[in-house]
C-alpha cells in the first residue's frame, strides 16, 4: 500500500472506517494480526521480550460534518478539527459514504459590497451546494452526520514533493507500515493507528492506557511555514529539511534523553534532521505521556506545507528520513537504550 492510496481515503475524525479497513487488510497481508479497539484504533503488537514501545500515527484527518439540510437543498456543516475559514471557500468536497460531490459556494464578487470583500466569511455562513433543488432531493443523497472530505487529487509535483489532502497524518501511517516491514525481537513494539487526534488526541489516550508503554513516539505531519512573507524564525520546519524533532509543543515536552539519542543517531548515520522550531500545536504524544503512571515520549514529524487545508505538500525525502531515523532508534532500544 502506498501513500497515494492511504491519503486518498476519507477519514475525518470519528469516521476513520475506510482508512482502518485498508490498513487492517494491508497489515494482514503483511502477516500481522491487528486488533481494533472500542474507539476504532488499530493496534499491532510485534516482537517481545524488551521494553514496550508505542509508536503512534493517527488515521483521522481534518474535515467537515453535515449539520443540517436547508429548505432549498443546500447543506450546512461544521468543521471537524482546526481549519482556517479562509481555505473553505470555493472548494470541492465529497459527502458521505456515497461520495456525493459538492461545492462550498459564495455569492459572486459582483454582488458583494466592498466591505464584504474585506471580511473573512465564517464557516457558519457558508453552505455546500450538491446540485439539489429541494430539501427532499438533497435528503435522498445526504444525511445529517455525514462526514465531508476535500476533493483533492494526490499528485507528485516538482522533483520530490507530494501534493495531497490528509498528509497529516497519513504520512505517519505510511511510516508505521515501513517500520512493520522490519523484524523486531528485543522490543515489544506496538504500532498504533489512532482515531480522533484532530479533535483532542482521544484515540491515543485510550490506546496508551491499554498498552501501558515504557516509551512513546508520535509520528506526525507537522507545520511547515517556509513561505515568502514568513520570517525564518517562524518557519517551524523547512520542506526537504529532514525529519522534524519536537522540543516542546502545547501538549508535551519530549524526553531529553530520547531527543539526544535521535540526534546522535541522525548525526552518526547522516540522516537529515531539523528541530521543529515552535511551541505551537500538539499531537498524540500529549496523551501517551499521561497514560497511567506516565512515560517518556518524543515526536518525529514530516513537514507538511499548508497543513490543515484541502491540499498540503510533503517531501518524499523527509518521509524517508523519518523512516530511517525511527528504524535506527528502535534498533537502539533493542540494543539497550533506555530513556
Amino acid at each position: 500500500m502506498d501513500l497515494r492510496e492511504l491519503a486518498s481515503l476519507p477519514g475525518v475524525s470519528g469516521h476513520e472506517g475506510k482508512v482502518r479497513e485498508a490498513l487492517v487488510s494491508r497489515l494482514r497481508e503483511m502477516g500481522y494480526e491487528p486488533r481494533t479497539d472500542v474507539l476504532g484504533n488499530v493496534i499491532v503488537r510485534t516482537g517481545g521480550g524488551g521494553p514496550k514501545v508505542m509508536v503512534d500515527a493517527h488515521m483521522d484527518e481534518v474535515g467537515l460534518v453535515v449539520t443540517a439540510i436547508e429548505k432549498n437543498g443546500f447543506v450546512k456543516f461544521q468543521k471537524v478539527g482546526g481549519i482556517d475559514d479562509r481555505v473553505l471557500l470555493s472548494k470541492r468536497v465529497f459527502i458521505g459514504e456515497q461520495r456525493v460531490p459538492g461545492v462550498i459556494g459564495v455569492k459572486a464578487i459582483h454582488m458583494q459590497e466592498p466591505k464584504e470583500r474585506e471580511q473573512i466569511i465564517p464557516w457558519h455562513a457558508l453552505t455546500i451546494d450538491i446540485g439539489a433543488k429541494s430539501k427532499e432531493e438533497a435528503e435522498k443523497k445526504v444525511k445529517v452526520g455525514d462526514y465531508i472530505v476535500f476533493d483533492t487529487e494526490y499528485e507528485e509535483i516538482g522533483d520530490d514533493l507530494i501534493k495531497s489532502k490528509a498528509l497529516d497524518d497519513r504520512v505517519g501511517c505510511a511510516v508505521l507500515l515501513e517500520l512493520l516491514k522490519e523484524k523486531w525481537e528485543k522490543i515489544e513494539l506496538y504500532c498504533v493507528f489512532a482515531v480522533q487526534e484532530e479533535v483532542g488526541t482521544r484515540g491515543a489516550r485510550v490506546a496508551a492506557y491499554q498498552i501501558a508503554p515504557d516509551m512513546g513516539i508520535a509520528v506526525e505531519g507537522t507545520i511547515c511555514s517556509d513561505l515568502p512573507g514568513c520570517e525564518e524564525h517562524q518557519w517551524v520546519t523547512k520542506l526537504g529539511g529532514g525529519a522534524a524533532l519536537s522540543v516542546i509543543d502545547r501538549g508535551s515536552i519530549p524526553s531529553r534523553r530520547m531527543l539526544e539519542e535521535l540526534l546522535r543517531l541522525a548525526r552518526e548515520n547522516g540522516i537529515p534532521v531539523q528541530f521543529r522550531e515552535s511551541g505551537a500545536g500538539g499531537n498524540d504524544a500529549a496523551a501517551i505521556q499521561l497514560a497511567r503512571s506516565g512515560c517518556p515520549v518524543a515526536s518525529v514529524s514530516v513537514p507538511c506545507r499548508y497543513i490543515h487545508s484541502p491540499v498540503s505538500l510533503a517531501s518524499k525525502k523527509d518521509i524517508q528520513s523519518v523512516v530511517k531515523l525511527l528504524i535506527l532508534f528502535l534498533k537502539s532500544v533493542e540494543g539497550g537504550f533506555r530513556p
Partner: protein, 335 residues
C-alpha cells in the same frame, strides 16, 4: 524566620527548573529530604516521590508541590546569534522584556525586542534573547534549539516578606520539605510528590497520583492576593495566614476535607484564610480526578506578582502553611 529557613527558600527558588528541565531542582530537594523519609524514587516523567511511612492503619496521603517554574525555550537561532523563543507556561511578554535569563549550563541572556511603534506590539514573537554571541556559530557553542531558560533573580528579604523568582511553586516545595522534616510521628503514610510540568498542564501530578492511588490529596501552591493597589477582587491578603482553597478553575476542593483543615487551623491557632481563586488551577485538580476520584484540597501560600521574576510571599504565611500541613498529617484526617 530563621536564617537557615531563609537560605532554604533562597536555594529552592534560585535552583533551575523550567517545566521539563527539573533535574537541578530535583537534586536540590532530594539531597535535603532523603534523611527524613523512608524511600525516594523518580518516576518516568521525572516526579520526585518521597515516602515517609506511618502506621499500617493510617491512610495514604499524597502531599504535592510542583518543582517546575515558568520559563523560555529556544526555538530558533538566527545568523547573527540571536535566539527566538517560545514560552513554557504563562509568560507575559511585557514582563519578560528586559529581563535577564539563564540557561542550565550557566549561559546568561537578555530579552530584547524588535523595533516597535506601539506598546501593544509587545508580543513573544517580537522578542529575542541576546546571549552576547557574535554569530550563529558562537551562539550554538553555548545553546541549542530546545534549551530552556529561567529568569535570573535572587531571593531577598523585604521586612517580613521574601521576594524571588519561582516562589511558584518552590515555596510549596519548601512547605512540603519542612513538613517531612518536622513531622515526627505521622498518623499516615505520606507520599510527598515534588511534581514536574504543572505549569504546562498539571502533567506530573496526574501520573504520580495514578501510581500512588492516594486516599487523600493535598497540594501546596501559591495563590493570588487582592491586597495590592487597584488589584483583583479577592479576599486573600499577604500576612493573614495559610490560604485554604475553596475552589479555582481546576477543582472544587472536597468540602469535608477543606472544612476539616479549617477546624484544624482554628483548634491549633494557626492563622488561616479562605481562598476562592477565579482563574488558575493547581495539581489537586489532576489529583482529584485520579481513577475513581480522590478527596483533594489545597493549602496555598499567598503570593503577589505571580508569574513575574519577583514573586513575593510573607514568612508568617509560610510558617502557617507548614504548621497546618504538619497538623494535618499528624491528625486522623477523619473528615
Amino acid at each position: 524566620m530563621t536564617e537557615e529557613m531563609f537560605q532554604l527558600i533562597k536555594g529552592a527558588t534560585e535552583a533551575f527548573g523550567p517545566s521539563g528541565s527539573e533535574e537541578p531542582i530535583r537534586e536540590f530537594i532530594e539531597a535535603r529530604v532523603k534523611d527524613y523519609v523512608d524511600e525516594v524514587r523518580t518516576d518516568a516523567l521525572g516526579n520526585l516521590i518521597c515516602i515517609k511511612r506511618g502506621p499500617a492503619d493510617g491512610k495514604k496521603v499524597l502531599l504535592d508541590a510542583h518543582m517546575d517554574e515558568i520559563g523560555l525555550i529556544v526555538t530558533h537561532i538566527d545568523d547573527k546569534g540571536f535566539l527566538r523563543f517560545s514560552n513554557i507556561g504563562g509568560v507575559n511578554p511585557y514582563i519578560a522584556l528586559g529581563e535577564r535569563v539563564y540557561f542550565a549550563n550557566g549561559t546568561t541572556g537578555v530579552v530584547g525586542i524588535e523595533k516597535i511603534d506601539d506598546p501593544k506590539e509587545v508580543k513573544l514573537e517580537k522578542l529575542f534573547i541576546d546571549i552576547g554571541a557574535k554569530d550563529k556559530a558562537e551562539a550554538e557553542s553555548r545553546v541549542r534549539v530546545g534549551d530552556m531558560a529561567a529568569f535570573q533573580r535572587h531571593a531577598e528579604r523585604m521586612g517580613s516578606r521574601i521576594v524571588s523568582k519561582a516562589m511558584d511553586d518552590r515555596i510549596g516545595c519548601v512547605v512540603v520539605m519542612e513538613t517531612l522534616r518536622r513531622t515526627k510521628s505521622p498518623r499516615h503514610t505520606i507520599y510527598a510528590v515534588f511534581a514536574v510540568q504543572e505549569e504546562v498542564g498539571l502533567r506530573g501530578a496526574r501520573v504520580a497520583a495514578f501510581g500512588i492511588e492516594p486516599d487523600v490529596g493535598i497540594a501546596v501552591d501559591v495563590t493570588r492576593t487582592g491586597d495590592t493597589p487597584k488589584g483583583i477582587t479577592m479576599d486573600v491578603c499577604l500576612g493573614k495566614g495559610a490560604a485554604i482553597k475553596v475552589k479555582d478553575s481546576s477543582l472544587i476542593c472536597h468540602p469535608g476535607l477543606r472544612k476539616y483543615l479549617e477546624r484544624l487551623a482554628a483548634e491549633r491557632n494557626i492563622p488561616y484564610q479562605l481562598e476562592v481563586l477565579e482563574a488558575g488551577g493547581t495539581d489537586s485538580g489532576a489529583i482529584q480526578m485520579t481513577k475513581a476520584g480522590v478527596p483533594a484540597a489545597v493549602i496555598s501560600v499567598p503570593c503577589r506578582y505571580i508569574h513575574t521574576p519577583s514573586e513575593v510571599v510573607d514568612e508568617n504565611d509560610v510558617e502557617a502553611c507548614i504548621n497546618l500541613l504538619v497538623a494535618a498529617v499528624e491528625s486522623p484526617l477523619d473528615f
